[in-house]
Each structure stands twice: as C-alpha cells, then as structure tokens.
Amino acid sequence: MTLARAAAIILTKELRLEFRARELLTITVVFALVIVVLFSFAFDPTAGESRRYGPGLLWIAFLFAGSLMLNPSFAREQSNQTLDALRMAPVSPFAILAGKMLANLVFLGVAELILVPVFAVLYNLSLAGIVGRLALVLLLGTIGLVVTGTVFSAVASHARMRELLLPLLLLPLLAPLLIAAVEATAALFAEQPSLDRAWLIFLAGFDIVFLTASWLLSDYLLEE
C-alpha cells in the first residue's frame, strides 16, 4: 500500500470519527472565541489598537486552541490500545502520522474558517481584497502548528499529565512560527495590505524543517 493511500485511510477514519462525535471542532471554536472575548475585556482596544493587536490575538487564539485540540489525536488511541492495532498494519509509521496531521489540518482549518470572519466582525477588520492572501498565510502557519503539534501529541500521549504537557512542549517551540505568522497577518491587515514575502518564506521554511524531521523520526516516534 502506498504511503498516500495509507494516509488517506487514516484521514478518512479521523474525519468519520469527528463527524460522528462533533466534539473536537465545537470545543476548539468555542475555546478560541472565549480567548478573543476575554482579550477584548482585558485590553478594551480602540479601532486603531484592534488593527495593531488583532493579528497577534488571532494567532494566540489559534495556538492555544491548537495545543488543546491536538491532544486527543494520539491520546484517544491509548484508551483502547488502538495505536497498537494501527502499528500492526503493514504501512510505514509516517503514513499514520501523516494521516493524523492531515486530519488535524482539516479540523483546525475548518475552525479557522469559522473564526476568522467572526473575529473580523468583532474587531472591525475588513477582509475584502485580502481573503486569498490571508488564506495562504493561515495555511502555512497552520501546517507548521499541526505538524509539530501532532508529533508532540504522540510524544505526550505516553506521559502522565499529557493534557498539561502538550502545551508546555508545543508553545515555546512555536515561538518563531508565532512571530512570522503574526507579522505576515499584520501586513495584510495594515492600511495598505501587502504580502510580506520574507515571513512567508520563513513560514514555509519552518514547515519544511519540521515536516522533514517528523518524516525522519516517525519510525522512532511510533515504535512499540
């Protein structure tokens, strides 16, 4: 079985699971909204300040929501030892990891699709004319978040207190991604929207570095 096909099967399984339960997406969206609302109470931003702090807030909300949302990705394979069953399948471990990364990318992508318009309304930011470019920044940023987050979800799933551990492992590692994603998003929300190529390249570089590392280390990550 090819890697792509095996990954697609895992992806379908994850999506079916989520479609039946609809737990993960609801929690993620509501949690991110809570952060957005609390931020507005804590800082009471004016229109100008919204423009200034909005992109940072948006990404903080995604990072926090992502670091919680990625937990069940491997943790729920632990409760019934289903990970052992997956490992027994004659596919490369990276296929399992890649399937889960794709599923998480879909979940977080859908959550962002819901959150960004709501956020734009709440903070009076106009999305007109920047939708395509914003989608590109969101995609590159979310890939980096999901790749590292899925790997760390597998790491944390074997530890005690894994729910607390995952944000602790993930958030400092994502510091460079946060800077790049926020700067790229801020350039789009500026008076004269522009696509900051340097930050886009940086985001793509971040994704490539950690995707390659995940590919190289996936055998060790999922071994018995």
Binding site: F152, A156, L173, A175, I179, A213, Y220, L221
Partner: protein, 238 residues
C-alpha cells in the same frame, strides 16, 4: 579515582584564577567600566551552554541510532548542565542589562533565543519526569530534544528579522574590533575554565545516571528473584 580528584581540584583552581583575572587583571573598559567584567563569565556561560546542548543533540541522535543506554544518560546529563549554564547566562545578562542598557530585559534576538531554549529544555526535563518506562522515555525525549535543537536557529532568525539591539560580536571581529589583548586573553581563560567545569559536572552527572540505571536493574532483578521464590509452587502446576 585519584586522577579524577586531581582534575577536579585543578579545574576548581582554574575557575578561581579565571574569576580573579576577570575582576583584577583585565583592564578597565572605557565606557562601561566595572560592570563590563560580568562579560567574562556571561559569555563563558553561553559557551558552556552551547557545548552542553550540542552534546545533548549528538547524544539524542546517537540514542535513536544505536540504542545504547549510555547515550540517553549523556543526553539528560548534558541538558541538565546546559540548563544550569543557560540560567547563569540569563541572570548575568539581566544584571548587566540594567546598568548598560537601562533596562533589565529586552526582546532582542539573542536574549529571546536563549530564553526560548531555556523553556524548551526545561520542558525536556519535565517530559522525562513524566514517562515511566526507561527506553520509551529515552526515545520520546530524544525526539523532543532534536525538535528543540532544530528550533533554536529558527527562533534566532525570526527574532533577527523582527528586531535586535544586542551588541554585535567584537571578540573575534578582526583587527579593528578594538579589544585589548589582555581582555582577549582573560576572556579565553574564562571560557576555557567554564567549559572545563561544565564538562566535569557533566561527566559526574553522566556517571550518576549510569549508577541509577544499574540500581534500577539490580532492584528489578531482586524483585524477579523474590517473585520466583514465592511463586515456585504455582510453577509445578501443569
């Protein structure tokens, strides 16, 4: 044993001499005066940290490839020593920052990189504390250690692009760098002294980890023997 004691005493002497040289032998710096003397140890601590964390990365990769427990012991020892050096570097940096820059802390590229590294390697140690089985703990923490190490240059570049106000390196900046030759010698002395002490502590920590491993093995063997003698009659059953 005697050789180790001799090396330790010699290293202690060296670090005291380095401290003396930094405080009394090195000439006064023109603009920063006495406060500049913290640099001799500030920069040396970073040298110690990079040595330790570099070793930790090598050890992490070597564990995954060879599966020899000694690499895992080296990994955890190097990270612990690296975190101590990093803490010292951050504290001396903050102490220097207030009089020299007028602020304790700034989100400059190098400061931020070291702070993030500090957080990442603290997380590495916490992660190790939360996984029970030794081989799994070694593998998963090695994977995390490799990710953390890869993150360091990314943190640096992102902050560099973002903003920076750290003084540019003058130590090896060529003939026009304007550093007094005595200062260079004292700096090198301090670096060597700190790296040697770092390595000695690291080796001791490594041996301690090895002993812990042996102790665990012995304990398991003893438990197995006890279990065997208690459950001997059951074994008679068909």
């Amino acid at each position: 044993m005697k050789a180790r004691a001799a090396i330790t005493v010699a290293a202690a002497g060296l670090i005291f001499f380095a401290g003396y040289a930094a405080l009394f032998i090195a000439p006064d710096e023109a603009t920063m005066h006495e406060i500049q003397r913290v640099f001799y140890f500030h920069i040396s601590l970073w040298t110690g940290m990079y040595t330790a964390l570099g070793l930790a990365f090598v050890a992490n990769v070597a564990w995954l490839v060879t599966r020899q427990p000694k690499w895992d012991w080296l990994g955890v020892s190097a990270v612990e020593v690296g975190v101590v050096c990093c803490t010292g570097g951050l504290i001396t940096g903050v102490l220097w920052g207030k009089p020299a820059w007028g602020i304790w802390w700034t989100w400059d590229a190098r400061l931020t990189t070291c702070f993030i590294l500090w957080l990442l390697y603290i997380s590495y140690l916490i992660l190790r504390g939360l996984i029970e089985e030794p081989p799994r703990r070694a593998t998963l923490s090695a994977v995390f250690g490799i990710f953390a190490f890869l993150d360091a240059p990314l943190v640096y570049v992102s902050n560099r692009l973002w903003r920076t106000q750290h003084p540019a390196p003058v130590l090896f900046g060529g003939p026009d760098a304007g550093l007094d030759p005595v200062m260079v010698r004292v700096m090198l002395l301090c670096m060597v002294a700190v790296v040697i002490v770092t390595l000695i502590v690291l080796v001791d920590r490594y041996r301690l980890e090895g002993m812990r491993h042996d102790l665990d093995e012995l304990r398991l063997a003893a438990e197995a023997r006890e279990f065997k003698s208690n459950s001997a009659p059951i074994k008679e059953l068909p």
